[in-house]
């Protein structure tokens, strides 16, 4: 095959270089610096070879470079397998493959490597910009593949051709995307080495820790309510329960799952009212690398792969490393923990010795005042609330640093604090008075995006509050922050803090256009997350059910096979029709040339019948007569007057009658041609 041995032209190598660079660039940020330098050198070398000419590097040098590169990867990652080392290795191969572009075969290998690496980008990020970048890279790489076969068209033509090819592939892509049976888990998930989330709540709450989280405007989760969302002030997204206090920080204790089903249920006796009506919603949680899930109080059903701890903390079985979506139904009026074991309650009374003496003294006074009778605990809670109210505590993002007795300092000296100070002090005071109390952390509020109606909860909505155990009521939520800064709960953080504090960037109200733009962008991002990245088995089922299809995987496979088969069938018909259009004389000629090719005379596509016949008879003198007869017959059919099919006059009256006669002579000629070829 002389065609395949054609050397690679300058244009072709420039195309390949461009494809390689676009495949490499987005990956560079995930690779060590030396690898970028390695590839950059290779690219520059290739460009120099192409533009200035010169010898390709010798094979032994390439082998040496492959070895050096692979050794580098191994030293860097201590492995040649896995996501990042694998991609790094491929990048080395790609940059060195450019050094041995000799034949079209090498071009094809380069292009395939590029495709693979472009796909590799999705192992790192799956955002919309990545997808757009990938589309561009795929078009460019396809154009390079086209150029490898034919480098004559201009850059624009090449790109347009590549684009139209990819557009033609779009229906098939959609079909596969929608119908290919999905497995649970994200499309691109590689659990073993995903980096963990950067911001979010931690399992410890020390003074200042939530204020720090509040500086981030990253999305924590998004919520789609099935009906009207509850009032802003009741949106307490309960997350972590912290019963342990060491004098400074509150900690999570329970990480063991206790209940796979909620141990409480909606009291059937209660009349459904707006207050206790269950709220249905779907929550899409951004990965945060920890196990806890967030929900409104109190979930009636648990998401798959999750359980409740003994203090009703909702935990997933595995850390949340990919975006998760779960449907929930919460009823706000549930009493939980009515029958909590004594050890849990006792743990909720524990206090470190010798800390915060002033608060202890105050709380002891409350207990003395109310005694231990029925309802005494509730009265103490009321007194504590009153006390918080009287102290004129102020809510601020920048509280003074806490010393040894952080609660005392907050309540009696500085009187300035963020939600963790309020929660911590309140829980401490109640414990000191002998009422079981604990700190709960999570998020409060959120912002409804008017574009798509999703409630977006960001890190700056992080909040801490307290839960108090009362007889016959179980654990009751009390938010001491609401006492001092009710606007934090009713609207948001920015409106509750004093004007001298700087609210998180996205919360500032000065730029309405920016806000509108942000809403739109966020809606687009959310749509992408929900429908493209989050197209999981559940979504697939929903989609198919909308068309009345049974979303069983067998049915899905059958449907996919049927549709693909149908598409192939249509394509086959189309190709066959194109073939039908081929002059039958020419088809016979091709048969003849195939026959001669087997005897060592290969027809060149540019050779006219006489030229070919002359050359063929030189090699096969025995067949000279027949070959010449065939060539003459073919030439007559195809080039002589009114001979070829394509020549038959158009459909007008006079020409039609001629056409019949011509067709007859033509048919005769064709029969003869085929006969001659058969005899050969």
């Amino acid at each position: 095959m002389a065609r395949l041995e054609r050397p690679i032209t300058r244009r072709q190598s420039l195309w390949l270089l461009a494809a390689a660079i676009t495949a490499f660039t987005p990956l560079a940020q995930h690779m060590p610096l030396w690898l970028s330098a390695f590839a950059g050198t290779a690219f520059a070398w290739r460009a120099w070879l192409t533009l200035r000419g010169g010898r390709l590097p010798a094979r032994w040098l390439l082998v040496l470079m492959v070895a050096a590169g692979s050794a580098g990867v191994f030293i860097e990652y201590r492995s040649l397998f896995g996501r990042t080392p694998g991609i790094a290795l491929l990048l080395i191969f790609l940059s060195l493959k450019l050094m041995e572009l000799r034949a079209p075969r090498d071009a094809v290998v380069t292009v395939l490597l590029c495709y693979f690496l472009i796909l590799g980008q999705f192992l790192f990020t799956q955002t919309i910009p990545t997808a757009l970048l990938t589309c561009t890279a795929v078009i460019l790489t396809t154009a390079a593949l086209l150029a490898a076969n034919n480098d004559r068209p201009s850059i624009r033509q090449q790109l347009r051709h590549a684009g139209s090819l990819l557009l033609q592939a779009l229906p098939l892509m959609l079909l596969l995307f929608l119908l290919f049976p999905r497995i649970t888990g994200p499309l691109w998930g590689m659990p073993e080495d995903r980096r963990s989330a950067v911001s979010g709540l931690t399992d410890t709450m020390a003074p200042g820790s939530i204020a720090q989280v509040s500086q981030s405007d990253a999305v924590a989760f998004r919520v789609a309510f099935k009906s009207a969302p509850p009032a802003q002030a009741s949106l307490y997204w309960r997350g972590l329960v912290m019963p342990d206090f060491d004098g400074r920080a509150w900690r999570v204790r329970e990480t063991r799952e206790a209940y796979t089903k909620p141990p409480y249920s909606q009291q059937p006796s209660e009349q459904p009212s707006p207050e206790n009506k269950p709220v249905d919603y779907e929550l899409t949680l951004e990965p945060h690398g920890k196990r806890w899930l967030f929900a409104l109080e109190s979930p009636l059903i648990l998401p798959a792969e999750s359980a409740l701890t003994r203090d009703y903390q909702l935990l997933a079985h595995q850390p949340i490393r990919t975006r998760q979506r779960y449907a929930l139904s919460s009823s706000p009026a549930i009493k939980k923990g009515l029958a909590d074991p004594v050890d849990v309650l006792r743990a909720s009374l524990a206090l470190p010795a010798n800390s915060n003496p002033r608060t202890r003294a105050l709380a002891a006074g409350w207990r003395k005042q109310h005694g231990t009778g029925n309802g005494a605990d509730a009265a103490i809670v009321k007194t504590a609330e009153d006390f918080f109210n009287r102290q004129l505590l102020s809510y601020t993002l920048n509280p003074p640093l806490a010393g040894q007795h952080s609660v005392d300092e907050f309540l009696f000296d500085s009187k300035r604090g963020f939600c963790e100070h309020f929660a911590s002090a309140f829980a401490f005071a109640l414990r000191a008075a002998g009422v079981p109390a604990r700190v709960v952390a999570g998020y409060q509020g959120g912002e409804v995006n008017p574009v798509d109606g999703y409630l977006v909860v960001r890190q700056y909505d992080a909040h801490a509050w307290t839960e108090v155990w009362l007889a016959k009521q179980g654990w009751v939520r009390i938010d001491p922050t609401a006492i001092a800064a009710p606007r934090r709960i009713d609207s948001n953080l920015a409106s509750a803090i004093p004007a001298t504090d700087t609210p998180p960037f996205l919360m500032r109200e000065q730029m309405p256009w920016l806000k509108a733009l942000r809403y739109r962008l966020d809606a687009v991002n959310n749509g992408w997350n929900q429908w493209v990245l989050g197209y999981d088995p559940q979504r697939q089922r929903d989609f198919l059910q909308r068309f009345g299809l049974d979303p069983d995987w067998r049915n899905m496979t059958a449907l996919l096979a049927t549709l693909c088969g149908l598409a192939l069938l249509i394509l086959t018909f189309w190709v066959l029709r194109q073939r039908e259009k081929m002059d039958p004389a020419h088809r016979a000629w091709r048969r003849f040339t195939r026959k001669l090719a087997k005897r060592g005379v290969v027809w060149q596509a540019w050779e006219g019948p006489d030229t070919f016949a002359a050359r063929a008879t030189q090699k096969l003198p025995g067949q000279a007569e027949k070959i010449h007869a065939i060539a003459r017959c073919y030439a007559n059919l195809r080039y002589a007057r009114h001979a070829s099919y394509a020549d038959t006059p158009p459909n007008d009256g006079i020409a039609q009658s001629h056409g019949v006669a011509h067709r007859k002579t033509l048919a005769n000629g064709l029969t003869r041609l085929n006969q001659l070829i058969n005899e050969l």
Binding site: E5, I8, T9, T50, Q604, W606, R638, Y639, A640, R641
Partner: protein, 334 residues
Amino acid sequence: MQPRDQQALLSALLADINRIILGKTEPVRMALACLLAGGHLLIEDLPGVGKTTLAHVLARVLGMDMQRIQFTSDMLPADIIGVSVFDRASGTFHFHPGPIFTPMILADELNRATPKAQSALLEAMEDRQVTIEGQTRALPAPFFVIATQNPAFQIGTFPLPESQLDRFLLKIELGYPDAAAERELLAGTDRRQMVAALVPHLSPDQLIQLQQQVRAVHASAALIEYIQAILAYTRTAPFWVAGLSPRAGLALLAVARAWALLAGRDHVLPEDVQAVLPGVVAHRLRWHDGGPGNTGKVGAGEATALQGDRTNNALRAVANGETAAHLIEAVPLP
């Protein structure tokens, strides 16, 4: 005229010419095809290789009157077309027709004249009429111009622009004769005497009839498609400044028809197109700067590789600047 007689006549005619122009069968046949196709011929070669003789011989055997115009740098359009002179006796202007009113013109060393004089001839060639002082005068039919041109690198020449070159249906080169032909030429009788002794084979009417027959030669849809493929290729390939014009396509088809007729066929084969391709395309396709072999699109290293690669003639032709040879092998038959 019966087809058989006609074929005999054309063979006799070619034989007569080849008796005088020795060893140049192919260019002679091309020249005749050009004439039969009704176009004008450009011969580019060094002085003394027989350009003028070829013109003389063609004129004689075809029975056409011939005038020779020797182009010089001080030539004016009137020297070609003619002038109106005031006749004192009759008191009117009287037109003295120039040499252009002759069926066959030999425009010798066309590129020595200024563009002004050149264009006077070229416009007449294209329109087959001249307009002098508001009066249009038709040129004789058949009308045939053979222009000769020295290779442009010679001193004191005005190379013809591409747009003008396009008006010549064919460009041929004669080249030095081979040893055998040259020996015969040196030993044989004087060519001038031989030309004078030639007998015309055709009358002007017969020539016009032949030209009509050429136009009637059949070109099948498949063949038209082939010509289109060639045109399309020249327009997309990176080697040339510009592709072939539609006029060039018409020229290619016309000469191929004449070539088919000379071969005694009533239809064109791809081989006819391929045979006349060098004469039709060589002067119409200009290589990119830097000349063939270094077209600016093929890297230097790759070009050497092309020349080394014996398996691919099409690409080697590019490296050598053989336009037609490349076209033939690069464009597959439909």
